[in-house]
């Protein structure tokens, strides 16, 4: 890595880089600042950049007041997302192992399969799934949503985990077999510990997919038994846009918290997942 310099050219680069940073920071700032402004300062023209008064009324609305159902949706979202993560890790590592170790003719068919699934219109898949879930009673259930979300996340998880397992030299497994490990032992004691970064990255992506997932969660639930946060958010606020911006932004901020915390603590794995999963 060449020595970092501060030259005329790099000053221009720094200045150029400030613009995208602002483009991202300003909306995020607006989200946060609106949540602590009292209502009468939100509906002003021109909008106030720096709040002249701070109020926690929106937070108290959310936690104690009429919007308490938010936390039911939050809890449902956590359950469904964690369920999705578990299923993805277990199934994904197993499948990734097979695809990695058992020789397949070329990567291209695999890539095409993976890309192919991204192409399927989700709304189209939703229709028969809704009909059959209705018949077997899986609507409004955690199980139903976990099944769907896991299925949606699985292609990417398998793809990602396969790439990570590819990096583990097969000699380690041979050594293990020589030492008397059964194939299961090899998988459990040798491969799995070494794929921890891959497992973490895949978990994060599965969690993100499930937390963000909207259209299945919206349609497959009709009440708050299992409805997750993404559709719940809309159900709560869609008709109230003109009056309750403060409440909505506050809810939005809280809804983003799990994702933001994961991002702050595990950013490295997010990046690893994106780059390993996206490159050859």
């Amino acid at each position: 890595m060449p020595m970092r310099v501060i030259s005329r050219k790099s000053i221009a680069v720094y200045v150029a880089l400030v613009i995208p940073m602002l483009c991202v920071l300003i909306p995020v700032y607006w989200l946060s600042v609106t949540s602590v402004k009292p209502n009468y300062t939100i509906m002003t023209r021109p909008p106030e950049l720096l709040p002249r008064a701070i109020s926690l009324e929106h937070y108290s609305n959310l936690i104690l007041g009429k919007d308490r159902i938010f936390f039911t949706y939050f809890r449902n979202g956590v359950i469904v997302s964690l369920g999705t993560v578990i299923v993805n890790i277990v199934l994904g590592t197993a499948a990734g192992y097979v695809l990695s170790r058992f020789r397949f003719r070329g990567r291209l068919p695999l890539m095409i399969t993976f890309l192919g699934f991204q192409m399927f219109p989700l709304v189209l898949l939703l229709i028969p799934i809704y009909i059959s879930f209705n018949k077997v009673g899986l609507l409004n259930s955690y199980t139903g949503l976990i099944i769907v979300h896991s299925g949606l996340a699985l292609p990417f998880s398998i793809w990602l985990l396969k790439k990570f397992i590819d990096k583990i030299p097969i000699e380690l497994e041979h050594a293990g077999a020589l030492d008397g490990c059964s194939t299961f032992d090899v998988l459990w004691r040798i491969v799995m510990p070494l794929t921890t970064p891959g497992v973490l990255a895949a978990s994060i992506f599965a969690f993100l997919l499930s937390w963000n997932e909207y259209i299945f969660a919206l349609t497959l639930t009709s009440d708050e038994t299992a409805r997750t946060l993404s559709p719940g958010f809309t159900v709560m606020y869609v008709s109230l846009m003109s009056e309750r911006f403060g409440d909505i932004m506050t809810a939005g901020l809280v809804a983003s918290l799990p994702v933001l915390i994961i991002y702050l603590c595990l950013q490295r794995y997010v990046l690893t997942g994106l780059t390993v999963g996206g490159l050859k």
């Binding site: 300003i26 909008p47 219109p121 194939t183």
Partner: protein, 303 residues
């Protein structure tokens, strides 16, 4: 070892293991992707409605014929394609530029990347409401900022205007997808061996020549893949459009997913919706084939 006529015990055991490990995943993927797709295609030939789930009659090509006669469907399809291409091009230009800028020897790369990636991390629902608020006709920050900067004299009704609402929606899509492209490009750029660049510099190749002959071809797989994924995403996304404009003034911002969802779950015409979805799928499949043919012509060894 004596050759046997069938599989050796080891191979048979491995095969059993493979089935055991791969089986559950295959089942789950088949039940969420393959079976519903086949089922939906079959549905498109019926008059299935949401109101009476047990009764469905075979109607042959009727739904498809109705589609052919419906100009609204083709307008929405074209609209969605236009949106997807605009987002893809913008994502490509800005994402690549940012990645190239970040690829310099400067400080604060991780900070910059960390901040910009926030746009990709925030839940889409939250973004939909946030940007609806930002584009608000009465109190929005976009209007406020533009007026302060002297670009406009009066607040604009962004989300209700036939020309401005597509722009607003596209801004959100582009805002979210640039960080993704930037991260992918940057990661790929960092794998270019220094020796190649040094050799090119010694041979007298200027920045533009180096970009054209070394960097761009090296980036091709990543650019191709990320662009395709983004195009699929624009087709797929429902929340942003539905929350911000609901399809826009006179369907100006209606994308295919909003339309199909509406037909399926708001007019309850599942058969017709399935037909639309199937056409959507086939169109994207054809597009992907052409796309692959163009982008991956000579790059088989890059994979």
């Amino acid at each position: 070892m004596r050759p046997s006529t069938g599989w050796s015990r080891r191979a048979r055991r491995n095969f059993t293991l493979a089935i055991f490990l791969l089986g559950p995943s295959a089942c789950l993927i088949a039940s969420v992707f393959i079976w519903p797709l086949v089922n939906a295609i079959v549905l498109s030939f019926t008059d299935q409605t949401l109101l009476d789930l047990d009764r469905a009659n075979w109607v042959g090509w009727q739904n498809y014929r109705r589609l052919l006669e419906d100009p609204a469907f083709w307008r929405v399809l074209g609209n969605t394609f236009a949106f997807a291409l605009i987002v893809a091009v913008a994502q490509l230009i800005f994402g690549l530029t940012l990645a190239m800028l970040l690829h310099q020897p400067i400080y604060g790369k991780a900070l910059f990347r960390g901040v910009v990636l926030l746009a990709w991390i925030l839940p889409v629902v939250v973004l939909a409401f946030l940007w609806e608020w930002l584009f608000s006709a009465e109190f929005g920050l976009v209007n406020g900022g533009l007026e302060r900067a002297g670009i406009i004299t009066d607040y604009l009704p962004w989300l209700a205007h036939p020309v401005l609402s597509p722009i607003a929606v596209l801004v959100v899509f582009i805002w979210r997808s640039i960080p993704f492209m930037m991260v992918m490009c940057l990661a790929r750029l960092e794998t270019i061996p220094h020796e190649i660049i040094e050799a090119a510099k010694i041979d007298g190749a200027g920045g533009a020549a180096r970009f054209r002959s070394i960097i761009l071809p090296w980036l091709r797989p990543v650019l191709g893949l990320s662009t395709l994924v983004t195009i699929f995403w624009v087709f797929e996304n429902y929340v942003i459009i539905r929350t911000m404009t609901g399809g826009g003034p006179a369907d100006r911002t209606k994308t295919l997913s909003v339309l199909v969802y509406h037909v399926a779950f708001e007019t309850f015409n599942l058969g017709q919706a399935a037909a639309m979805g199937t056409v959507w799928f086939l169109t994207l499949a054809a597009f992907a084939v052409i796309y692959f043919y163009i982008v991956c012509r000579t790059d088989d060894d890059a994979y």
